[in-house]
């Protein structure tokens, strides 16, 4: 589904990714872990098409096509979804309007009929249950006045509505208490399908107790320094990142 080869990227002339190679197949869950500043959020944002990063080398192939040539909206329409680490507040646009606009854009791209507000409301009722969200949050402006946990649940709600093929969760666990973490992880698990894949970017192992990865990759200083199974995450939890930092330097 996704094939990243020797990906290099800079932001403001500073090299952040120094050659990332990673293959993700349908049905798999990959965890990307690493200390602060290792480049893991950069990787997530580049996959979603953030304009602030310049790709300076390597390739990313998604469903057989060059992902890097697609605009961000085209990536989303083809099934790439990024759950933001810091979801953006958009005063003046209601959550319901935003979700329906996004849903209809993606349906249009798939050659499906747009849905009217009534049928969309029915769909929302079902999706909201998944993340235990209150209907009142639909009438509020996107993420405005939402708590940290509400913002993250709203990200997962968007994911539930858009049904991506490749979901990238960028530190979705940051700032969440254990109850919110459980709800968010429950939502992600419920949305997993055999033909979809998930990349979980996280600093802590905690989230991986709930979203169990098939593969764990450790990113240090713009490179993947180690890959393994879920046992690697537990080892990181016990030992921290320092021993890998030392290895990366050596």
């Amino acid at each position: 589904m996704l094939e990243i080869k020797d990906l290099r990227a800079t932001v403001a002339d500073k090299e952040i990714l120094k050659g990332i190679t990673l293959t993700v197949n349908a049905g798999e869950v990959h965890a990307v872990m690493g200390p602060n500043g290792s480049g893991k959020s950069t990787l997530a944002q580049i996959l979603a098409g953030h304009p602030a990063y310049e790709v300076t080398g390597g390739s990313v192939t998604y469903q057989g096509e060059n992902l890097l040539e697609m605009d961000a909206e085209v990536r989303a329409q083809r099934g790439v979804f990024l759950a933001f680490q810091y979801p953006i507040e958009i005063p003046g646009v209601s959550n319901a309007y935003f979700l329906r606009a996004a849903y209809n854009e993606i349906r249009k791209a798939r050659g499906e009929e747009e849905v009217d507000p009534m049928s969309f409301a029915d769909l929302m009722d079902e999706k909201m249950k998944l993340v235990e969200m209150d209907g009142a949050m639909l009438t509020r402006s996107v993420n405005m006045g939402f708590s940290g946990g509400e913002k993250k649940r709203n990200e997962i709600l968007q994911m539930a509505v858009l049904e991506p093929k490749l979901a990238i969760l960028d530190e979705t666990d940051s700032g969440l208490d254990i109850d919110a973490l459980r709800i968010v992880a429950g939502g992600v698990n419920a949305l997993k399908r055999p033909d979809s894949a998930t990349i979980v970017v996280t600093h802590y192992q905690r989230l991986l107790n709930y979203i169990v990865p098939d593969f764990v990759h450790v990113l240090v200083n713009g490179r993947i320094v180690r890959s393994g199974d879920k046992e690697l995450a537990l080892e990181l939890e016990a030992r921290g990142y320092d021993w890998l930092l030392d290895e990366a330097v050596a």
């Binding site: 098409g49 304009p51 989303a76 958009i90 606009a101 996004a102 858009l162």
Partner: protein, 436 residues
């Protein structure tokens, strides 16, 4: 150039204006004398530093002192919000009884044209008209007062709440081209009265040519009274518009003002209030939408005269093309006005490289125990927000449109009157996002 105005004044005094009471004729005479001294303001005048009125001064626009033009009810419909509001309509500056509707006014409320008010409310009019909006330093107010002839007088007696809004509609048609209108309105709310007044300035003849609207509204807001005042400036793209709203507020009174400005080649809106009683306050909000070569200028002035008063201001603007916005927000806190609580915000979104804004907060504080803040931002669409929307599959153009609309939406949301709020939201959404 000034001579032409003096000649127009002579003609007007002998003819159209002759019917006014003695005191009003004296007021007009002192106003034209003052205008003769002041002339039109230049950009050397601090209050007009960013906006040149040379186009108005050079245009030789003749005061429209006799009735002209014809507007059908159907042509007015796009500018109305409801068919059961109280309504006075002025066509090319002159009262039009056929388009007006005041039959459902509650007891204790008068809404009538100035000529009728001279007869029916002589004391009220003489006591207030010309006493609030000083023309000593204001050329356009002097000019308006010199040609004072028509407009609306609203009087709400003590303890009366007017449930339905009172809509004053100033509409022009092609017959106004090359003319100048100087409507003069007076709003008097007695103790604990409450009313909502809208002023709409619009045209049925877009593209017909230049005209000037130079309007002045004076408001006396009694102790404990609440006035909601909305001014909607939707003149034609070739028009010039100067609109002054000037209020005096009594103890524990409230003024809620909203100025929506989208029309005219050159417009200047002045919103002034004096907080003259303890515990009163004013909320002045506004939205200006500019495009092409438009100049849209706002000046607000809040005089905190007494202690324990509040003022809140939020002005937002969206400027496209080569349009030019100006926001000058003055707040004066007098030495006695302790515990003043003031907040002023001006945010402008620039959609093009050529659009520009001059924003000038001006706080002059002479009391020592006050809380006053101000802030101004000028920016372009937020790239992070655009990326967020695109990452959800929304195309770049739609994302830009929605964010542009959203920028304006939060100030529009402050309008309590649902019909106007929804109407302006829909108009703004149509304008920037091509849908309602």
């Amino acid at each position: 150039m000034i001579d032409a105005y003096l000649r127009s004044f002579e003609a007007f005094s002998r003819n159209g204006g002759a019917a006014a009471p003695e005191w009003a004729r004296a007021l007009r005479l002192s106003a034209i004398t003052r205008f003769e001294t002041l002339g039109f303001p230049t950009t050397r005048n601090e209050d007009w530093h960013f906006t040149s009125v040379a186009p108005i001064a050079d245009a030789a626009l003749t005061p429209l002192t006799s009735p002209s033009g014809r507007v059908e009810a159907a042509q007015l419909a796009p500018f109305l919000f409801s068919d059961d509001w109280h309504q006075l309509v002025f066509v090319n500056g002159r009262f039009d009884a056929a388009l007006s509707r005041t039959d459902a006014l509650p007891d204790g409320v008068r809404v009538l044209p100035l000529a009728q008010a001279y007869d029916e409310l002589p004391i009220l009019v003489e006591q207030h008209l010309g006493r609030i909006a000083s023309f000593d330093a204001h050329s356009f107010t002097a000019l308006n007062t010199a040609f004072l002839h028509d407009g609306a007088v609203i009087h709400v007696t003590a303890d009366v709440e007017v449930a339905k809004p009172i809509h004053l509609v100033f509409v022009s048609d092609a017959a106004a081209v090359n003319g100048a209108m100087h409507p003069r309105n007076l709003i008097v709310l007695d103790r604990f009265a409450k009313a909502t007044v809208l002023e709409t300035y619009c045209t049925t003849a877009r593209g017909a040519g230049a005209y000037l609207t130079n309007a002045v509204t004076e408001a006396s807001i009694g102790d404990g009274a609440t006035l909601t005042h909305l001014k909607l400036q939707r003149e034609s793209a070739q028009a010039y518009h100067v609109g002054t709203f000037d209020a005096r507020q009594g103890r524990d009174s409230h003024l809620v003002s909203f100025s929506f400005a989208t029309g005219a080649a050159l417009s200047r809106t002045n919103i002034y209030t004096e907080l003259r009683g303890e515990g009163c306050g004013a909320t002045l909000n506004g939205l200006y939408l500019g495009d092409a070569e438009q100049t849209i200028d706002h000046q607000t002035r809040i005089e905190h005269v007494e202690p324990n008063c509040y003022s809140r201001e939020l002005y937002k603007g969206i400027l496209d093309g080569a349009s030019h916005g100006v926001f000058n927000g003055k707040v004066y806190v007098h030495p006695e006005a302790q515990k003043t609580d003031g907040k002023q915000t001006n945010n402008t979104l620039l959609l093009s490289e050529k659009a520009q804004i001059d924003t000038k907060p001006q706080l002059e504080i002479f009391a020592d125990d006050v809380k006053c803040t101000h802030g101004a931002t000028v920016g372009r669409l937020d790239e992070t927000s655009l990326f967020y929307m695109k990452s959800r599959g929304i195309d770049a153009r739609t994302a830009r449109e929605l964010l542009t609309y959203a920028f304006a939406a939060d100030v529009l949301e402050t309008i309590e009157l649902a019909e106007v709020r929804d109407g302006l939201e829909a108009a703004t959404l149509r304008r920037y996002a091509g849908r309602a």
